[in-house]
């Protein structure tokens, strides 16, 4: 039993302890704004953890989605709710203790059961030996995509990914249907959102210089997903974040003039449509759904290159959808649905 020091366990344990602390704090704090911030910190810590676990794509996504977007929509919501929570009422206490006890028991059981789990980072564990070698060894020959994660995501398990795009699309739709409902009486609305006169120029200048870079970087992440960490999600989220930044530094109207609501919704649908359309096209060409190899004769390339191009195309679709959905979520949640004024 030798231990490979390449995994800095001291570092891991440090981060994990900090994560636990963050989690407890986020739940314990009385102020909702602060607990939202702490949750963001928690996300960043888990990004560190994942980077260190060689899961760069995941860390990338978590950084963009979990740390950035989640925090922003948390803060956006915090404008419309009571920011300070009151102590839990006494009647809850009994249930609290009961839940606590049950939870602790289950936790102890599961903790003790980890004894039989395969050792962490054990190359001989079934998970590492059963399927994944197949992906790593054949993936390049079959899809010409060095980034195995991208290959698996968009091709081997492309069906999952399509529905993943559908999930975010559905989320945007639900949020819109919920908040943008025309006929509701604004009873007991809290408007804690700041007035936007006299925005300081520093922010605007920063935005002006950062946003173009962000967008170019987003496109790079999207199109270079075959060879480097990244892909549809990450690119899409970053691109969407650029618009959110615009709205933050100027104001909601400013960014909505550049990216109107119905266009946003249209993009949400179009991205998924692109993805599913490609799948259906393959089906029309006599292959199975999402069998990109069908595109080979269409594009006049070999089967594996066709798959590579197919991956790129669906990644673009995912990118468009995710970008639009993030923007749409921000628009609706940060403005409380009236699209008057954002965070």
């Amino acid at each position: 039993m030798t231990w490979d020091a390449s995994l800095l366990w001291q570092f891991d344990i440090l981060v994990l302890v900090m994560m636990v602390i963050c989690a407890v704090t986020a739940l314990a704090l009385q102020g909702l704004l602060s607990s939202a911030i702490v949750t963001g910190a928690y996300s960043f810590l888990i990004c560190l953890m994942w980077t260190h676990m060689m899961a760069v794509d995941v860390a990338f996504t978590e950084a963009a989605v979990g740390a950035a977007i989640s925090t922003v929509i948390f803060l956006g919501t915090a404008q419309y709710i009571n920011r300070w929570i009151k102590k839990d009422p006494p009647r809850e206490q009994g249930i609290k203790q009961l839940t606590l006890v049950i939870g602790v028991i289950c936790a102890v059981m599961m903790l003790s059961a980890t004894r039989d789990l395969p050792d962490w980072a054990d190359p001989a564990s079934p998970a590492s030996t059963h399927l994944s070698p197949g992906y790593i060894e054949q993936g390049y020959h079959e899809t010409a995509t060095p980034n195995v994660v991208t290959a698996v995501l968009a091709d081997y398990r492309g069906y999952d990914t399509m529905f993943e795009a559908v999930v975010v699309f559905a989320a945007a739709l639900v949020v819109m249907v919920l908040l943008r409902r025309t006929s509701h009486k604004h009873r007991k609305v809290l408007h804690l959102r700041p007035k936007r006169e006299g925005r300081d120029t520093v922010l605007r200048g920063a935005a002006q210089s950062i946003i173009p870079v962000m967008q170019i970087f987003a496109l790079y992440v999207l199109f270079h997903g075959h060879y480097s960490p990244g892909g549809g999600f990450q690119g899409g989220v970053i691109f969407g974040a650029s618009f959110i930044l615009l709205a933050l530094c100027y104001n909601l109207k400013f960014s909505m003039n550049r990216f109107r609501e119905h266009l946003v919704l249209w993009c949400c649908a179009c991205g998924v449509l692109l993805y599913a359309g490609i799948g259906a096209a393959c089906l029309g060409l006599g292959w199975n759904f999402l069998g990109y190899a069908a595109l080979a004769d269409l594009l006049g390339v070999s089967g594996k290159m066709a798959r590579s191009y197919g991956i790129l195309a669906v990644e673009i679709g995912v990118g468009i959808t995710v970008m639009a959905v993030m923007v749409s979520l921000y628009y609706d949640l940060a403005s409380g649905g009236d699209l008057e004024e954002g965070l």
């Binding site: 039989d116 999952d160 529905f163 559908v166 559905a170 025309t182 249209w266 599913a276 069998g291």
Partner: protein, 506 residues
């Protein structure tokens, strides 16, 4: 096209929902037509698959992107899932036709977004039923869950909090499922159901405590999603506060599909002897199920609000289904699977009838039933049929599922379950009898009472005929007919569909 039917029945609604979002304000007629068209297409595809499966006598497989499982994702449609798929798309189609008036009533604005979510929900449920991959099942579970949150939250003001609780419980359930999948993955390294069951046959995995934890987590998650008795608290408010169309769509299908998932996990991923020999819970689960059946019905009896009453009836029916599945014999399994189809239809029928009554009377308490036989005879008739089916009166399908369940319970010697089934049946009889009595006698206010005997001969009340519109009546009558048809052709259903899917080791 024929061999692409498995995927078509899932993606057609997806395309429909996209189109519904894109075409924007083409008016509700277009949206309505588009929705019906897509779901009818998916029903046709499901029928085609069913025919394929029955003719071939084995499961139909469809490889996504031409990847060999377990590397890629595959759809596996066997006799069990084919039947459930037809049930889902059929119920969805009927609801879609039914929704013409009620959907517009509940959604003055954004009707086509509402319909888009409707289609997404159907797609999610179909996908859950058709898939052969445990993680893919999770994704589709979330799709159906998300769209159902959206649909349910379209209800009246109190619906928001109810939906929030549903969201919390639903997320817990789904996450438990996901964690369970994680445990299975770490122990086996696979996600494909067939592959998993192959690997799980190894004896050392059979003993492994972590596999057991995985199984427990998955089953627990599914139980939360299907609102088994102690975990059902989220359901009644969420369903009873929803709009009529939403209730008609979600109430019959969500819980039934969760039950289907439970059967899949129990008997396809794991095996009968793993579940019943190595996990020795059956007795306990059957007690829980019996409690669910009895308490659910009794709570239903104590409800004023019609929809809430029906929701508690669902809780009881879930008890029937769970008990049947855990009886560990063929009759019980047959009863459970047959009851998935039967109860789907019954619940749909009841919710549609109640929806029609509420649509006409505007009252949602049981007072709405008064004098229904005179005012809405057709609706009342169908309601009577559905009620008789729930009580278990031949020749409606409810009787036969109860027949199989009781037979299984007697064979397994589970007298508690027998008793609970009988008691639940009696309570249900009381419940529907009270409603139908109201419907038959109307209000007997004192003006009639004190002159009761004299007026009795000329008591012909002239209540005006006020039947529901045709688009609501047609699906209603069709469902009622389906209840009868399914009952009469029980033997065929059992012989051509259910017998094939009885797991080995029973």
């Amino acid at each position: 096209m024929m061999d692409h039917a498995p995927v078509l029945m899932i993606v057609l609604p997806v395309f429909a929902s996209l189109a519904l979002t894109l075409i924007g304000p083409l008016g509700h007629r277009a949206a309505y037509g588009l929705l019906i068209l897509s779901i009818a297409g998916s029903l046709a595809a499901a029928m085609a698959t069913l025919v394929q499966v029955v003719q071939a006598g084995r499961a139909v497989q469809y490889r996504m992107g031409d990847w060999m499982p377990p590397m890629g994702i595959e759809l596996v449609i066997d006799h069990l899932s084919a039947g459930v798929l037809v049930m889902i798309s059929g119920c969805a189609l009927l609801t879609a036709i039914y929704s013409m008036h009620t959907a517009r009533q509940d959604n003055p604005d954004r009707l086509n977004h509402y319909y888009a979510l409707f289609a997404l929900l159907v797609a999610g449920l179909m996908g859950m039923t058709a898939t052969g991959d445990v993680f893919n099942l999770y994704v589709l579970l979330e799709i159906s869950a998300l769209s159902s949150y959206g649909l349910l939250a379209r209800g009246k003001g109190k619906a928001y909090y109810a939906t929030f609780r549903y969201l919390m419980m639903g997320t817990i359930g789904a996450s438990f499922y996901l964690l369970g999948v994680g445990y299975l993955y770490i122990m086996t390294g696979s996600l494909n159901m067939a592959d998993l069951s192959e690997i799980l046959k190894q004896p050392e995995l059979g003993e492994s405590v972590n596999v057991r934890i995985g199984f427990t987590l998955i089953i627990l998650g599914v139980w939360i999603k299907m609102a088994l008795f102690p975990l059902h608290a989220w359901m009644p408010n969420a369903y009873s506060r929803a709009g009529t169309t939403t209730a008609c769509l979600i109430a019959p299908l969500m819980t039934k599909v969760s039950v289907y998932v439970m059967l899949r996990i129990m008997f396809t991923v794991f095996s009968a002897d793993y579940v019943f020999q190595q996990i020795a819970w059956s007795r306990l689960v059957i007690y829980v199920a019996s409690a669910a059946a009895v308490l659910g019905m009794i709570t239903a009896l104590s409800q004023r609000d019609l929809r809430k009453m029906l929701t508690y009836i669902i809780v009881a029916e879930i008890g029937y289904l769970t008990g049947g599945a855990w009886l560990a014999n063929t009759a019980g399994y047959t009863g459970a699977v047959y009851h998935i189809l039967a109860d789907g239809l019954m619940t749909l029928c009841l919710f549609m009838a109640v929806g029609a009554i509420i649509y006409r009377t505007g009252v949602s308490t049981s007072a709405a039933m008064e004098g229904i036989f005179q005012r809405m005879p057709v609706t009342a008739g169908v309601f009577l049929i559905a009620g008789a089916s729930v009580v278990g009166i031949p020749p409606f399908c409810g009787f036969f599922s109860k027949w199989y369940l009781l037979q299984g319970a007697v064979q397994a010697g589970e007298w508690v379950f027998v008793a609970s089934l009988v008691i639940a049946g009696l309570v249900a009889a009381t419940l529907f009898f009270r409603l139908l009595e109201k419907a038959f006698f109307g209000r007997l206010d004192d003006a009639v009472l004190e002159t009761g005997s004299k007026t009795s001969h000329t008591a012909a009340r002239t209540i005006r005929w006020n039947e529901a519109p045709l688009t609501m009546l047609l699906p209603l009558v069709l469902t009622g007919a389906a209840l009868l048809g399914l009952g009469i052709y029980t033997n065929e259903v059992v012989r051509y569909l259910i017998r094939w899917s009885v797991p080995a080791g029973m």
